[in-house]
């Protein structure tokens, strides 16, 4: 069984990344119509013929029907996000492994993962030098180097913000599937069919997945766009970490369970190619256990990075908890009334809206075993084109206050990744943008304790997310994004 290892903990003489680079160099020599080529593999995630940075005159693309079957298949804003990407990574890894073995490399080579959330590693949010050194040890160009990245990415600076790299929010989720009625995100995403425009991503997909995509890509880099993300070798080690987090979440609490419905397990067969280029299919139930064939791999570390929650008397834990969470019926208690939505630019911006006293289940169904949850929802977030900012969202941030001094009021982030794609009308999307749902119960509790919670009014502030490197040097002008509506739910 192969072991996927932490890229920052590889021993000095370890050659995992060197073999990764050599195999990618060979994949890059293959024609785009070859399913085992670098460009083909990236196009499986998404492909835009008008924005293909590696296009060359005389390119012969796969047939239209082949493209429709295999390209632009990535699942986002959906409960298929995790299983689809697991299958995608697995077959990509198999292609690399075949090349590595042919080149005389280790037969147990496995894709490493980048654990940017590791609080014990001060460099966790930095890219390892192997991804930005200009050359390999033999002085040939480094295939892992991509210049289209965020400021500081290729000089060893920390990327994104700590809030965008953390994994505790998603790991603390107690259910896999999002509420279907506005009551917050689960770990894995919402139950969707073939069209999932305007839907809310799962907590793991939001942070750290989307946020770290945007952190590596910056406003204009490859990692920030669906169609170019797979062209950056960082993409694959990033997704290996996301895949690992799914294992961590499953193992950290016996109450954390995957969906068991056929609609998720077997309704869709994902199309991929194996290492020889032959077409294959995978269903979700084939990728649930990584230690079983077909997958046959484990992660070096799937320990729980969070302190286990102390048991609270009277609070239901374990499997029954999922059922209880599913019984919650969210109730909207207020929303912005902005006709044209809220346009966010490069300066902080605040909106306020009235709150109504709950009159439905949020007023009648509260019990000590199921304390009130409060969710801040951002609906129909759209943007026409890049470059755009990522934003940090604060609740009741006082006028003129420095957001850096109020991490306790940070509700969540709006990552730039995926917004433009979800705003386009395509064969898969209606073009109504993305949504995010933040559990702000702890913020509301804090404000109530401090007597600073106004039950009649809520103020939400959007602040562009900037790293230290980005603050230190001038940034390219960005285009606005629009938030269709901000709403508050009690559940």
């Amino acid at each position: 069984m192969r072991t996927r290892k932490d890229v920052w903990k590889l021993p000095a003489a370890d050659q995992t990344l060197l073999w990764y680079a050599r195999a990618i160099a060979i994949m890059k020599t293959r024609l785009v119509a070859d399913p085992t080529s670098w460009r083909y593999q990236a196009a499986i995630h998404d492909y835009d013929p008008s924005d293909d940075p590696l296009a060359v005159p005389g390119d012969v693309l796969p047939s239209a029907s082949e493209q429709a079957t295999f390209w632009a298949r990535c699942q986002h804003g959906s409960w298929f996000f995790l299983p689809w990407h697991r299958g995608y990574l697995f077959y990509f890894e198999q292609m690399l492994l075949k090349i590595i073995q042919q080149q005389g490399g280790p037969s147990d080579w496995a894709l490493p993962y980048w654990n940017y959330s590791d609080l014990s590693n001060p460099k966790a949010r930095c890219l390892p030098p192997a991804f930005w050194n200009p050359t390999l040890p033999d002085e040939t160009p480094n295939p892992l180097l991509v210049t289209q990245r965020a400021s500081g990415a290729n000089t060893g600076k920390a990327l994104g913000s700590p809030a965008g790299a953390e994994n505790s929010t998603c790991l603390r989720k107690t259910v896999f599937v999002n509420s279907s009625t506005g009551g917050g995100a689960g770990f894995g995403g919402g139950s969707t069919g073939f069209s999932h425009g305007g839907s809310v991503p799962g907590a793991c997909e939001s942070v750290p997945h989307n946020t770290m995509h945007g952190a590596v890509g910056g406003p204009t880099g490859w990692m920030s766009a669906f169609n170019t993300a797979g062209l950056d070798p960082v993409f694959w080690v990033h997704h290996a970490n996301i895949d690992r987090l799914w294992e961590v979440w499953m193992k950290r609490d016996p109450g954390n369970t995957n969906p068991t419905v056929a609609a998720w397990l077997s309704s869709i067969a994902f199309n991929f190619h194996d290492e020889s280029g032959a077409a294959v299919t995978l269903t979700v139930n084939q990728v649930l256990d990584t230690t079983q064939p077909v997958l046959d791999y484990v992660y070096e570390d799937v320990s729980d990075p969070l302190a286990p929650a102390p048991p609270v008397p009277g609070v239901v834990v374990s499997a029954a908890r999922s059922a209880m969470e599913a019984q919650r019926i969210p109730e909207m208690v207020g929303a912005t009334d902005t006709r044209e939505g809220i346009t966010l630019g490069s300066a902080p911006q605040s909106v306020q809206f009235a709150l109504h006293a709950p009159s439905g289940p949020a007023a009648r169904e509260l019990t000590p075993a199921a304390p009130r949850q409060v969710h801040l929802n951002l609906e129909n977030i759209t943007a026409t084109r890049r470059p755009i900012e990522s934003y940090m969202v604060y609740v009741n941030l006082p006028d003129g206050a420095n957001p850096d001094n109020h991490p306790e009021l940070l509700a969540g982030l709006i990552p730039r990744f995926g917004i433009v794609e979800a705003s386009r009308r395509t064969r898969e999307h209606a073009g109504d943008g993305v949504g995010y749902s933040f559990d702000i119960s702890h913020i509301v509790s804090l404000l109530e304790t401090l007597k600073a919670w106004d039950p009649d009014r809520l103020r939400v502030t959007f602040v562009p997310e900037r790293t230290e490197a980005e603050r230190a040097e001038p940034q390219p002008a960005t285009l606005p994004i629009k938030v269709g509506r901000v709403s508050l739910y009690f559940a």
Binding site: S180, T181, G182, G193, F194, S195, G197, G198, A263, S267, I268, Q327, I329, P330, E331, M332, V333, G334, A335, T336, D337, R339, G341, F353, H356, P358, S359, G360, P361, E379, N380, R425, R427, E428, H429, A430, G431, D432, G484, R485, S487
Partner: protein, 253 residues
């Protein structure tokens, strides 16, 4: 209309209605199907009687066709066949509304949704009436022809695009007349996309004289393509061909 205010003694029922505020729409749709089936005739029983009384003539095939396109009949058909496709949007619009406005929001969405469909029905009615008076022989060939059109439309990218647009969501004002207007506008927007997506299906169905079998099969196709996770346009086209064949056989028997 507030479900939450109703004195429902059973917590299970209360939770069911809280969780599924769209339930009454499905009851409405079921009632519409009952009206279609009630007399026990496969050609829609009661509705032609109403239409016959209105138009004052009895049913040869062209007469049936004219009857079938009456406004009342068309409205019943929209409620029966199309309202169930809105389950996702009904849940969205109620979840995105204040608790006491949920059913009102659903009602405004349905009003907006029905507008273009009703207009389409009136246009069809006028078209069939014109054909009946000027070239009645053409009516005989209309059903198979429109089923063929529906099959071809099913295979176009525009069909797929409009089907996806049926799933769109949009921001809604939380209160006041703008909340009502937004729900109406949302319904109109979905209705426009659905009209574009299903115009050929409904036209073919109408051209059979609203044979119940055609209605059932076309309804199943339109529901399926809204709810299956990866719809196959080819599969639906084949299903449509079957529907057309069955409907034609039933109609000519």
């Amino acid at each position: 209309m507030t479900t939450g205010a109703l004195p429902l003694p059973c917590p299970r029922w209360r939770h069911l209605l809280w969780r599924h505020p769209e339930t009454w729409v499905f009851l409405l749709s079921a009632a519409a199907w009952c009206i279609c089936i009630a007399p026990g005739e496969l050609n829609l029983g009661l509705i032609p009687h109403v239409a016959h009384a209105f138009y004052g003539h009895a049913g040869h095939s062209a007469g049936h066709l004219l009857d079938a396109c009456g406004a009342f009949h068309w409205s019943i058909m929209i409620v029966a066949m199309m309202f169930p496709t809105l389950v996702g949007q009904l849940r969205v619009v109620s979840a995105r509304s204040l608790w006491f406005r949920r059913n009102r929001a659903i009602a405004f969405l349905l009003a907006g949704y029905s507008c273009l469909w009703l207009l389409y029905g009136f246009v069809l009615d006028a078209g069939f009436e014109l054909l009946r008076t000027t070239a009645p022989i053409v009516l005989t060939f209309l059903a198979p022809f429109f089923f063929l059109v529906a099959v071809l439309w099913q295979l176009t990218p525009q069909k797929r695009q409009s089907l996806i647009a049926c799933h769109i969501t949009m921001p809604l004002a939380p209160s006041g007349w703008r909340a009502d207007f937004d729900c109406y506008q949302y319904g109109f927007r979905i209705g426009t996309s659905c009209c574009l997506s299903c115009w050929a299906l409904m036209l073919a169905c109408a051209a059979t004289g609203h044979t119940l079998w055609a209605m059932v099969i076309v309804a199943l196709i339109s529901w399926s393509e809204r709810f299956v996770r990866r719809p196959s346009q080819l599969w639906f086209s084949l299903a449509l061909c079957t529907a057309g064949l069955v409907a034609s056989l039933v109609r000519n028997s």
